[in-house]
């Protein structure tokens, strides 16, 4: 099944979803079938003066994920994700990574067709 990347404040499934895409602390990359997961640090984007969203999109693309769960995505990051065929589910906030993944598995989510930031 498709791997998904969830913007996260920390490395575990119990950490909170980081609502920021470009400057997220990192990504928990999850296989929703097995719930096996790994953490991709996004510090390289956080440190950038410009282009954090683009760098974050590159990090997601490199992780092999095809879907992103997050809070807010800016226009350049959105274009970058679109260019590599990564689907975006946004407006997720105030929940743990695990809750976000459960929401995704339940089907109670919408794929975004434009950035919300």
């Amino acid at each position: 099944m498709t791997k998904i990347a969830v913007t996260s404040e920390g490395p575990s499934m119990q950490d909170m979803v980081d609502p920021r895409f470009g400057r997220a602390g990192g990504f928990v990359v999850v296989d929703p079938e097995t719930m096996q997961h790994e953490y991709v640090d996004n510090g390289s984007s956080q440190a950038m003066a410009h282009g954090a969203g683009i760098q974050a999109a590159q990090n997601v693309a490199d992780s092999g994920a095809h879907v992103v769960l997050t809070g807010y995505v800016g226009p350049k990051a959105f274009d970058a994700l679109k260019a590599v065929g990564v689907k975006v589910i946004q407006n997720l906030d105030n929940m743990s990574v695990e809750q976000a993944v459960q929401r995704y598995k339940s089907g109670d989510v919408q794929y975004a067709d434009q950035p919300n930031k």
Partner: protein, 288 residues
């Protein structure tokens, strides 16, 4: 001599001082508006514009058939203007600062130059003097590349027709303001004796002092506020060359787009005195 008129705080009177100095300057002078985000010197000097040209920044264009996805360009670019994402090359021309690094590092010569419009460079005459102005394209986020084009044009013009230049700088102390003052021979800071003026004046002194150029102050709206600016200037050996009074006639003349040095003989002699002090200090700076 290149004289930049800078301030820190906006609205202290950079353009007022620039226009008056250019109007009374003894000898050939070019009036330059380098506040390209919001140029307004022309409103006071009413130049006859003789030519306008678009200015462009070179940005990368990738021939995907030559690209081997090595990521050298993507790793080099500090602004993420060029990116390898999976097997896609994605450029964001609006993020590009035009350094040319991606083109230089590409092992496959897959990158060529496209261009992004930065704005317009206008040249003209104001009385016997030359006039130069940059106007940033609406939507363009970076002003230093256009400012550099204006400065290059100024350098070319001054080679053909030697003289001085009075450069109206943008406010603030970030890249555009630094870009405007860094290669001038003299930095004149226009401030006002208010808490806001004082606060930003200190920032401007701190930002521009490392260039080790002769630097002096003009206190505009003198009579307002307190003596903090004067005290600070004394402590830091920054000469206060003139005081422009806080005066309703000056404000009225400004609002009608007039050059205030033309308003009365007192103001005219004030700017003549300012010009002489600048020339003296500038000459001292060159000898030192």
């Amino acid at each position: 001599m290149l004289i930049s008129i800078a301030s820190g705080k906006g609205g202290t009177g950079k353009t007022t001082v620039s226009a008056s100095l250019a109007a009374i300057w003894d000898g050939p002078v070019t009036a330059v508006d380098l506040d390209v985000e919001e140029p307004n010197l022309h409103l006071f000097l009413n130049p006859q514009v003789e030519s306008e040209e678009k200015v462009y920044l070179s940005v990368p264009e990738v021939d995907e058939s030559k690209c081997n996805l090595c990521r050298e360009c993507s790793n080099l670019c500090q602004f993420k203007a060029i990116n390898v994402m999976g097997s896609t090359i994605l450029t964001f021309p609006e993020m590009c600062h035009g350094c040319g690094g991606c083109m230089a590092i590409c092992p496959e010569n897959a990158i060529s130059w496209g261009r992004r419009e930065l704005g317009t460079l206008s040249r003209g005459k104001t009385g016997p003097n030359n006039f130069l102005m940059g106007s940033l394209r609406v939507g363009e986020a970076m002003s230093p590349p256009l400012m550099r084009a204006v400065k290059e044009r100024l350098a070319m013009d001054l080679t053909e027709r030697p003289g001085d230049a009075i450069i109206d700088a943008p406010p603030g102390v970030s890249c555009p303001a630094v870009c405007a003052v860094m290669d001038t021979d003299f930095i004149l800071l226009v401030t006002e004796p208010t808490p806001f003026g004082f606060h930003d004046f200190k920032l401007a002194v701190e930002a521009f002092a490392p260039f080790k150029k002769p630097m002096a102050a003009v206190i505009n709206r003198s009579g307002l506020g307190d003596n903090s600016v004067e005290a600070f200037c004394r402590e830091n050996n920054i000469p206060v060359l003139v005081h422009i009074p806080f005066d309703k006639d000056i404000a009225g003349a400004y609002s009608r787009g007039r050059v205030i040095a033309d308003l009365n003989p007192g103001l005219k002699s004030l700017f003549v005195q300012l010009a002489e002090s600048i020339k003296e200090m500038g000459a001292g700076g060159r000898d030192a």
